[in-house]
Symmetry: C2
Subunit: 229 residues, 2 copies
Amino acid sequence: MDGTVRPPRRLDPEARREQIVAAAVCYFAEVGLGGTTRDLAQRAGVTQALLYRYFSSKAELVEAVFERVFLGRLAPHWIAELRDRTMPLPDRLCRFYSQYTAAIFTYEWMRIFMWAGLAGEALNRRYLSHVGDSLLAPMAEEIAAAGPYRAPDMEEMWALHGGIVYLGIRRFIYQLPTPDDTAPVIEQSVRRFLAGLAPPSPPVSGAGAASSRAARRAGPRSARATSHR
Amino acid sequence: MDGTVRPPRRLDPEARREQIVAAAVCYFAEVGLGGTTRDLAQRAGVTQALLYRYFSSKAELVEAVFERVFLGRLAPHWIAELRDRTMPLPDRLCRFYSQYTAAIFTYEWMRIFMWAGLAGEALNRRYLSHVGDSLLAPMAEEIAAAGPYRAPDMEEMWALHGGIVYLGIRRFIYQLPTPDDTAPVIEQSVRRFLAGLAPPSPPVSGAGAASSRAARRAGPRSARATSHR
DNA sequence: TTGCTTGTTGATCATCTGATCATCGGAAAC
DNA sequence: GTTTCCGATGATCAGATGATCAACAAGCAA
């Protein structure tokens, strides 16, 4: 009925701490950061009092959960690989999003990130600012530099990103059925996005640069942005 | 310091109930469904005991909040308008997403929907199934019927949808700066999506149907889908 | 004014929750 | 075997939380 086997008492402190953090990641991902220390302790197979031998407060335990889940998930070499122009641009973007989604499309990452976001944790804003500045902005530059595509603004990059991340939201937040293999869906999103940035099929001639679509778009990245509430 | 003016005691029951629900929508959107009845009562400018004259339990109050926030937000005539082929397809899709986002891009809708989703409410799954079946599927049919576009599968429709909804998530869940006017961003997303479905600029000739891109895509909508956890 | 109806309140209950502490007992050191 | 160390536990505390209830008082009718 329980699932978690009661381990031998008197464990090595490091192993015990590890056991608690692992259980906490799983538990808080499921019920949210408002989960109780008692339920968590039961899942971890320890007494509630023992939690306070390893963490001085619940907040500190949550902090350890954040570190475990979020720290080191983004590999720094992704940015370099994104800029490696010896590889075709579409392949670079596909490779990146393949790696990126492999890193964050987990029950624990997705849900704890969303719980934390709703709770107003600054962590989320820092993380997403980093995504925008260090990942999406370089991607936009590479797209503009690569070739028949027009330069996307940041909102367009966020639309690409959101379309992909939303798959994880459907799966792990709303727990809806999603394709087992996300790779083809994601690759298709990237390629469709690029195709949407390519100049349209010309009516007759096919020489000059993109010219006809000057009307739309209020200006590259001039739209004012404000915080809401 | 308070903001909410203490109303005259002995209010009309309907008005009082209305006052409580309105405060509850605002309060639960901010702190989540785990918020306390005492804090809510304080915000509503009533005593905690009074809540239980109008709602037999906290769960019933939450139910009233759900009804208030979600009921009747989706206008049924949107589907008909989506299928009205006297209007150009891109305009129809833009109009739809303009109406749709006007309805759901609010602090209360976005956040309560997300809190409920994380809490595992069946409401979210029902709602999103409806979105898929009654909105995205017809949209896909219209796209396929309309014109130079290839037929998108449902995952592609969810990618379009996610890219747009993610703007609301950034704004209301993560509270990040977003463009004040979402209309041009959304319209651009729709048009870029359609452009990405259009046949690529042909090398020389331009007559035949789409033929070259047969390789990709494992099959229209055959990819197996499973629930996760 | 008197009296009734009923919206409203402060007090209170049982339970839950984060946190503390004296005590217990397994394992290594001697 | 005995001692010592320290990981682990059960009991417990103070405050929070959902829910209840007797009592109060505003509005209305007679």
